[in-house]
Symmetry: C2
Subunit: 486 residues, 2 copies
């Protein structure tokens, strides 16, 4: 494919993408396919001869018929995964230059733009200056691929610190005594990170607001120390996946400081809301964090993968992650700032030019544009909450903090609520996912894309009510109502 | 930005990218910038108000002036990082739908296309059928982000198996006894993976061809077992970064089989060459690997990040990496094949739709197109090797197996060769990186992009000869020659 063909075919794909967005409401959000459906459509082997763009495009529709449409305004599942036109445009040039910013020399602009963007974001979030490069201290930010990476990097660095602090024991002896903590409501990536780091982790109970409190942590630490164990890591959460529960960072942070416990704060989704002054309080206590992360690929319009992570003392990571082989030559350049070699902050050596996407997105939306998105999502979630509260059959399971509403059929058991969810999704007009907290199963309604409007919230509620009618009053006119609409 | 604006601005960026490729020869491959240069060009804070695409584009040129141009035909450093027009086109639609294939339900097409593409690639490489999903066995492939991820996943899974196999000991007691092996020439990611997994690793010496041999491993294992240690992992390499050295997989694999050692084979760069029958021998012995990986983002035209990893028994990974929280609801659908939930094969939960890129690339190049690329690169490397051999001042350091030539000034010490490299790069017309093996520093010349032509190889050699003249005969007419050309 030469540049002329690229001009033609990539332009065609730009219009294909725009058409996809223009017509997305007409696609069922959830595809009607079965395990193995694609086997019939994809040849068993790669073609020997080159095929044309047109050949591939012809089959693309088959593939798109089998995807879950995360961009649909009727998608209300999980947590948002971002996409935006500025990010797609930035991906074009970022992918085209393919200049990997693993050291300063391997992509000077890429390294320095990452430094600048991490400081921009930190300022937008009003993070303590210790987390900023521009403070001239030991702190700074880095783009990780995902929260899983950020948490794994943090727990491995914390483990390394604990091993160093116990020179009288072998690493394995220390490892057997280490205890990490997180709340029972925290994302599974924290438990997974502990599994991968081969350390014990305790899932601590939360209060009635699904928030981990200081006293709970203090008691657990005391218990464990009395057994001769070594508490070393806390995975705190601002905005759990299940209910958007917010741990009490101030209470927890003070204890972690006293007890020499590394507090990593995972604010993957909810952290972005802190760019709005009225939601900044969610990050109160973030100043106690040893490290902190959130995902611009969730709520800040940057396509996957983009997790922003900050640390107060970057050497805590780099001294654990540094390898300096001869073939990754770097020049020890002198300038007014010592620039980071980001490969020593991450698991991965190869890295995409993700800072370019942040730069396009932050400029083309502006801080106000990004705030508008968050405020609008929260407003729509509140609209949904009102609808739920107005129906006596339902109850709200957790305070609606941001763009997620947790609800269930009042007085009904898990099985009935599970059946309701199944019926809603089988209907295929909207898509929701559930969660379980303290043994109670509930449905979650998430505002996922910035094209969701008030009418989409109303539409979703109508579908849910219809399915509820059918479930609870199978012989009523609920059936007729549905029949009419089809 | 609405879809009309996207049509206009993204089309403009398509042409910007095409123009970049059309004019790349006119850009100095290595930018003339100092640490901190971008600080002058980037405001200290993100803008409050949205800015236009035109605003950002105006500043983009400043950013591009500060990147290392990995796409330049004069870039001969490191190993290739791929980019291609089909991959850029696929990224547009993949990023636009943003449908994360972490479970079957979260993106059915994404999951099934990944299954199909991993089988396509495995067949192209003539991997043993045990590695293919279509064999109906326990094997299969998965897209990891990078080799670092693949190796870390493998070593963590191997460690978990070792811990399970020693139920009489605590995990820490087992950990203290575990020993991993790799060659002194292996990529730093293997050493890094061992550091992150908190296990000991021994870097074993290679033979004169920079190949790790069976006898060396056997001796090390015997030594370690006699000390009561537990050998559990070998990171074998097909195509080291330094010299493209190839470990003897047949010898090593038999020992690993006998000794219950997990052999992960890292063929990040060189593995792709095995799609050409004449290079398939490089993978002889791959059948002994417990797991195997290579990077389509190196030599198969897929933009970063894309590492293909196969495993003979996928449960070895999934039983270590599985977390199944309620909010990642899946339907236990019945179909003709049980489809994988790829989140349990990887560190990351969020995953881009990378299989779409593989699909576009494999179809739009075809197997023959991909073979042509590899053969052409090897031919150009051989051309460079001839030029070096014809100059009595130089020597070839390692057999030229694929697209990398390692060379140095004959009879000169590391300091002189380091100085030569510095002068070549300071000249800024071409860019090379070095390596060191067995204490000897040398220069590496890599064919990095598919637009490199025979004339670019000749040009690079002229630059190197000029700088050599200047270095070795500073008072000769080498200076005049350079002055004339400028």
């Amino acid at each position: 494919m030469n540049t002329d063909e690229f001009r033609r075919d990539a332009t065609d794909m730009v219009h294909y993408v725009a058409d996809y967005y223009d017509t997305i409401r007409s696609r069922p959000v959830m595809p009607d396919v079965q395990h193995g459906f694609l086997k019939q459509l994809i040849p068993k082997e790669a073609p020997l001869q080159a095929q044309s763009y047109e050949d591939v495009k012809k089959d693309l529709e088959d593939v798109l018929k089998g995807i879950l449409h995360w961009r649909s305004p009727h998608f209300h599942a999980f947590l948002p995964v971002a996409s935006s036109f500025p990010a797609l445009i930035a991906d074009l040039i970022g992918g085209a230059v393919s200049s990997a910013p693993f050291s300063w020399i391997s992509n000077p602009s890429g390294t320095e733009l990452e430094v600048a963007m991490m400081d921009w974001l930190a300022q937008m979030l009003q993070l303590p200056s210790e987390f900023l490069f521009s403070s001239g201290g030991r702190g700074g930010g880095v783009i990780q691929q995902t929260t899983d990476d950020a948490v794994l990097v943090a727990i491995i660095a914390a483990r390394a610190r604990a091993v160093r602090e116990h020179p009288d024991m072998t690493p394995g002896q220390t490892l057997d005594k280490l205890v990490a903590y997180t709340s029972a409501e925290a994302h599974s990536c924290i438990k997974k990170a502990a599994m991968l780091a081969l350390v014990n982790i305790r899932l601590l109970p939360t209060d009635d607001n699904f928030s981990l409190r200081g006293q709970t942590l203090a008691t657990a630490i005391k218990e464990d120390k009395s057994k001769g164990l070594i508490p070393f890591f806390l995975g705190a959460t601002v905005g759990t996946t299940s209910t958007i529960g917010v741990d009490n960072l101030c209470e927890l942070g003070k204890i972690c400081e006293q007890e020499n416990v590394w507090m990593h704060t995972d604010a993957a989704y909810a952290g972005s809301a802190a760019i709005c002054p009225e939601f900044r309080h969610l990050l109160n206590g973030v100043e106690y964090s040893t490290s902190f992360s959130l995902n611009p690929h969730k709520w800040l319009h940057v396509t996957v993968l983009c997790c922003a992570m900050w640390i107060k003392d970057r050497e805590l990571i780099t001294e654990t992650f540094r390898v300096d082989p001869a073939y990754l030559m770097n020049y020890n350049l002198q300038g007014d700032v010592k620039m980071p070699d980001f490969r020593n902050w991450t698991i991965q050596l190869a890295r995409p030019f993700t800072s370019l996407k942040l730069w396009f997105v932050l400029r083309m939306y502006g801080v106000q544009g990004l705030q508008d998105r968050i405020r609008n999502d929260v407003k729509l979630a509140k609209q949904f909450e009102s609808l739920v509260r107005d129906d006596h059959r339902f109850e709200i399971v957790a305070e609606v903090v941001l763009g997620v509403v947790c609800f269930k059929l009042k007085g009904k058991g898990n099985d009935v609520n599970e059946e309701l969810l199944k019926r809603i999704n089988d209907d295929r007009r909207i898509f929701l996912t559930p969660s379980t907290s303290k043994g109670v199963f509930y449905l979650r309604f998430c505002i996922s894309v910035n094209t969701t409007e008030s009418r989409d919230v109303s539409f979703a509620w109508e579908v849910i009510q219809e399915q509820t009618d059918l479930l609870l009053m199978p012989h009523s006119n609920g059936v007729d109502k549905k029949a009419k609409e089809i």
